[in-house]
Amino acid sequence: MPVLQFREALREAMSEEMRRNPDVFLMGEEVAEYNGAYKVSEGMLKEFGPQRVVDTPISEAGFSGLGIGAAMVGMRPIIEFMTFSFSLVAFDQVVNNAPKMSYMSGGQFKVPVVFRGISGPGQQLAATHSWSVEALYTHVPGLKVVVPTTPAEAKGLLKTAIRDDDPVIFLENESMYGNKGEVPEGDFLLPFGVADVKREGRDCTIVAWGQGCITALAAAEQLEKEHGIRCEVIDPRTLRPLDLPAIVRSVKKTGYCVTVETGYPTCGIGAELAALVHEHCFDDLDNHVVRVASLDVPMPYSKPLLQQVVPSVQRVADAVKKAVYFKG
C-alpha cells in the first residue's frame, strides 16, 4: 500500500472526487496559485484549472455562503478555511444557512458542502488563531463533524464527506499534515459514525480524536511501559454522528473512561461524552469519567504557558492514573 503524508491523502481524496464528479470544486484562500497555505492543494490548480480550484479574497462569509448556495443547486463544493479560526467570521453561514436549509425547507434543499481546514492550537498562534472548533460545530443539529487521525482516515473520510448530502465540517491539524501512513489506493471510503479502536486494552478506555488521539496514544504507550496499565484508545473519527455503542462497549469492558480534547472543558465534547457514558455505563463504571482538555483560558502566546494549557502526554497519563486509582 502506498505511504502518504496526511496532506497528500487529503489531496488524493479531493482530486479523485474531482475527477469522478465535475460538480466538485475547491475554493478558499491561497488554495490555487499559492498551492495552499499548508500545501494541501499543491498541484491541483495545474490539474483542474482555475474554474475548479479557486482562490478567494479574504471574505470567509462570502465564499462559505457561495459554497452553500452552489450546494443547494446540486454542486459539491469543498470550501477550505485556512484555519477554522477564520470560519468564525463566517459563523452565520456555517451554523445557520448550511445546517438548517434542509429542515427549514421541509427537505426540498440539501446542502452537500464540505468545509475543511485546520483546527486546534498550533505553534504559539495566540488566542484568536488557536480555536478547536469541534464543540462549537458538533453542538449544531444539521452539521456532521469529522476528525481524521491517520492519513488513511483523511482520505477515506474526506471522500465520504464529499459524497455526503449534508454539510460536513472536516477538521484537520497542522501538526499532523506531515504524518505518514499507508493509504489504500482508489475508491476507499470510510463510513461516518464508525469508531476505530486505535489501541486495545482492558484497564481504561480513552476516547480521543485527531491531535488529542495522537497524544492519547503516546500516553497509552507510556502507561503500559512504565506501569503496566493497558489503555484502550477509541477514536470516534466522527463526532456527529457519534459511534456511542463502540464507546459503551469499551467502557463496559474496562470500567474506566478518560476523554481527551484540545478544546475547552466547559461544554466541551468531553462533557457530552461524560454525560453519555454515565447514562449508558453507570453500573459498569468504577469511577467517574475524567476529562482532559485545554485549560479554560484563551490560548496564551508564551511557549511555557501554552505547553501547560494544551493537553500533554503527561497530563493524559496522569488523568488515566487518577481514573483507575493508580498509586505508583
Binding site: 484562500e29 491561497e30 496559485e33 499559492y34 497555505a37 482562490d55 479574497p57 479574504i58 471574505s59 470567509e60 462569509a61 462570502g62 479560526s85 477564520f86 468564525l88 467570521v89 498550533g122 505553534q123 504559539q124 498562534l125 495566540a126 488566542a127 484568536t128 488563531h129 472543558p265 466547559t266 485549560l295 479554560d296 483560558v297 484563551p298 496564551p300 502566546y301 508564551s302 511557549k303 511555557p304 504557558l305 501547560q308 494549557v309
Partner: protein
C-alpha cells in the same frame, strides 16, 4: 462630496528639520528592530506568526507623527512599526515576542498582538478585518463624549474584502465618526495580488460614493507626504466632518510572514520598490540639506544598533510568565477558572 484641504491652494504643513531627522531615526529604528526580529525568529526565540514591516516604515512613522497623544491608534497583525512609531519602548516589544512576563501584552499576545493602553495603542489584531469595527467604537466613544480625539485605523489591502470593513465604514459614514481608515496597500494579501482580490483596484473609490467617506491616495513610501496628508486628515476629522479613507501605496520587502517562499513575485519587482526606499529617500533629502553625511549616518546606525541589541538582551534575560499567570486576565472581575466560588 466634501473635499479635504489637500488641494494645491492650501499650503502644505512643512516639517521642521528636527521632525525630519526624528522620522529618519524612527524609520531606521523600525528597520533594525525588524532585522533583529528575523534573526530571533531563526533562533526560535520568537514563535507563532511574525510579520515584518520592512519597506512600510514611512506609513506608520509619517502618519503617527501627525497624531497627538490623545488620539487612538489601532492596527492589524503587522504591528511592530506602528508600536514603535507610537513611542513604545523596544524592550517590552522584544519581551512580548519572546513570550516574557514583561512583554507589552504580558507574553499573552505575541507579535500579532502588541498593546499599550497608556499610549492609546489598541493593538495588534490577527483576524483580518476584525479590528475595523473596533475603530469605529473608539471613534463613537470620542464623539459621544465630545472628546477631541481622532482614531487612526490601519489595515491591509486584504481586509477590505471582509464584511466587517464595509459594515464599519457604513456606520462611520452614518454617524460621521472622527476616524481615519488607512488601507496599507502593499500589493499583496499573502500570495494574492490586489488584482486578483479586488474587483476595483483604485481603492480610494471603494468608499466615497458607497459610504459618503471621501477617499484619498497617498504615497506610503514618502514619509513627508504621509505626514502632510495625515495632518490635514486629522484636522478634517477634528472639525466634525466625519471620516476619511486613505489608500496608502506601499510595499513590503520581506515575505508575508517568516515562512513564505514568495513565488508570487520576482526579485526584480522587489528591487524596483527598494529603489524608492522610504528611508533612502529621506536620507537623500537630509544629505541635500546637509543635515546628514556618511559619518552621521554611520554613527546613527551604530547607535540604533546598540539600542536594539540592548533591548533584545534585556528581553532575552527577562523571566517567563508563571503558571499562575495562565489564569490572570481572563476576566476583569475574576471568579475563578469556571465555576463560581
Amino acid at each position: 462630496m466634501t473635499t479635504i484641504s489637500t488641494s494645491t491652494s492650501t499650503p502644505k504643513a512643512e516639517p521642521t528639520t528636527t521632525q525630519l531627522m526624528d522620522w529618519y531615526r524612527q524609520m531606521s529604528v523600525i528597520r533594525q528592530f525588524e532585522v533583529k526580529c528575523a534573526q530571533s525568529y531563526q533562533q526560535q526565540k520568537i514563535g507563532g506568526f511574525c510579520h515584518l514591516y520592512v519597506g512600510q516604515e514611512a506609513v506608520a512613522v509619517g502618519s503617527i507623527a501627525a497624531t497627538r497623544p490623545q488620539d487612538y491608534v489601532i492596527t492589524a497583525y503587522r504591528d511592530h512599526g506602528h508600536a514603535i512609531a507610537r513611542g513604545m519602548e523596544m524592550t517590552p516589544l522584544f519581551a512580548e515576542l519572546y513570550g516574557k512576563a514583561s512583554g507589552c501584552s504580558r507574553g499573552k499576545g505575541g507579535s500579532m498582538h502588541f498593546f499599550d493602553a497608556e499610549k492609546n495603542f489598541f493593538g495588534g489584531h490577527a483576524i483580518v478585518g476584525g479590528h475595523i469595527p473596533l475603530a469605529i467604537g473608539l471613534g463613537w466613544a470620542a464623539k459621544y463624549r465630545k472628546e477631541d480625539r481622532v482614531t487612526l485605523c490601519y489595515f491591509g489591502d486584504g481586509a477590505i474584502n471582509q464584511g466587517s470593513f464595509h459594515e464599519a465604514l457604513n456606520l462611520a459614514g452614518i454617524h460621521k465618526l472622527p476616524c481615519i481608515f488607512m488601507v496599507e496597500n502593499n500589493g499583496y494579501a499573502m500570495g494574492t495580488h490586489l488584482h486578483r482580490s479586488s474587483a476595483v483596484t483604485d481603492l480610494k473609490l471603494r468608499t466615497g460614493d458607497a459610504y459618503g467617506i471621501p477617499g484619498k491616495e497617498v504615497d506610503g513610501m514618502d514619509c513627508i507626504a504621509m505626514y502632510q496628508m495625515m495632518r490635514d486628515g486629522i484636522e478634517y476629522c477634528r472639525s466634525g466632518n466625519g471620516s476619511l479613507f486613505l489608500e496608502v501605496k506601499t510595499y513590503r520587502y520581506r515575505g508575508h510572514s517568516m515562512s513564505d517562499p514568495q513565488k508570487y513575485r520576482t526579485k526584480e519587482e522587489v528591487a524596483k520598490y527598494q529603489d524608492h526606499d522610504p528611508i533612502g529617500r529621506l536620507e537623500k533629502l537630509l544629505r541635500e540639506k546637509k543635515l546628514l553625511d556618511d559619518g552621521k549616518v554611520a554613527a546613527m546606525n551604530d547607535e540604533i544598533h546598540a539600542a536594539v541589541e540592548k533591548a533584545h538582551e534585556e528581553a532575552d534575560g527577562a523571566a517567563f510568565p508563571t503558571t499562575e499567570d495562565i489564569w490572570k486576565d481572563v476576566y476583569a472581575m475574576p471568579f475563578g477558572p469556571y465555576l463560581a466560588r
